[in-house]
């Protein structure tokens, strides 16, 4: 792996695969934002080793340090998705690799920022929109704030991450991150826009 810690140039450009299409403006109660340009690291490590301890969460749950922008998602057994700003990725990668050195198992840290699409669906009706696209029960008892699962969403293998506090000034409303392969991003976006139409969805494309 290249030495990312010595990189000092401008922050790399992370272009979204999603063309948002005509902006839909609802009443603002339900929004879909393209967050594909947010940094994403994929970590593989043994389920119960020191790396898992350093990441601080497990399959099906997320962790966020208080006041920190970095979100750690237990996206699979022995698999984590670390979501952070692109500017933070070099130091985060270095830190993760240091944790991995102490782990006797096989550990990998891969930057998948450019390979994935990510969007955020926020609003009281968010679960109703997703219920049209996935079979998993999204009630609070099954997927509370801080819950995560991967399943078929509009027939795309998608990480669904309940992250209410990450919603934009909407901590009282449910907010879901949807994360999938880059090549499926446009399709998933269009599917969510279509499903959200009847709920008055407002869309917003990538900000960078």
């Amino acid at each position: 792996m290249s030495d990312t810690s010595s990189y000092s140039g401008p922050a790399p450009v992370a272009r979204s695969p999603i063309t948002p299409g005509p902006t839909r403006v609802g009443d603002g109660a339900l929004s879909l934002n393209d967050e594909s340009s947010v940094g994403k690291l994929l970590v593989h490590a043994p389920v119960d080793g020191p790396m898992a301890g350093a990441l601080g969460t497990r399959f099906g749950r997320t962790a966020r340090e208080a006041g920190d922008d970095t979100l750690v998602v237990g996206s699979g057994p022995g698999e984590w998705l670390v979501v952070a700003s692109v500017q933070d990725l070099p130091k985060l990668t270095t830190w993760l690799e240091q944790q991995g050195e102490g782990d006797p198992g096989l550990v990998s840290v891969v930057d998948v920022t450019h390979g994935r699409a990510m969007m955020r669906l926020t609003g009281q009706a968010a679960a109703d929109v997703l219920a049209k696209l996935t079979a998993v029960d999204l009630s609070d008892s099954v997927v509370p704030d801080g819950g995560a699962f991967r399943s078929s969403v509009a027939r795309v293998a998608t990480d669904v991450i309940r992250d209410d506090s990450g919603g934009i000034a909407t901590s009282d409303r449910p907010s879901y991150l949807l994360h999938c392969e880059r090549s499926s991003g446009q399709y998933l976006w269009d599917a969510v826009v279509d499903a959200g139409g009847e709920f008055g969805l407002t869309t917003r494309g990538a900000t960078s």
Partner: protein
């Protein structure tokens, strides 16, 4: 629709999985005969009964796991060592 009980994710639609096939013990390649190896690769028991199978949860946890399924009723139950 058939629900497949993933040991990691719980019951999910069968469309999320890849069916790997009937599980059987792999002979030691160093000592096996050509005939036994061919049987291992290509011959399945295919009974009308409970069989042990391997499934892959491709749209979920991306893990392979064992499952017992009744080939007549499609009822499923966890295999003894399912993970």
């Amino acid at each position: 629709m058939m629900l497949v009980p993933c040991p990691w994710c719980g019951p999910r639609n069968v469309a999320e999985f890849r069916y790997v096939g009937e599980s059987s013990a792999r002979p030691d390649p160093a000592t096996t005969s050509a005939s036994d190896w061919r049987t291992y690769l290509y011959t399945r028991r295919n009974p009308c009964d409970w069989i042990k199978e391997t499934w892959y949860h491709r749209m979920g946890c991306r893990q392979y796991f064992g499952l017992e399924r009744h080939t007549m009723t499609n009822r499923t139950r966890p295999a003894e060592s399912s993970r």
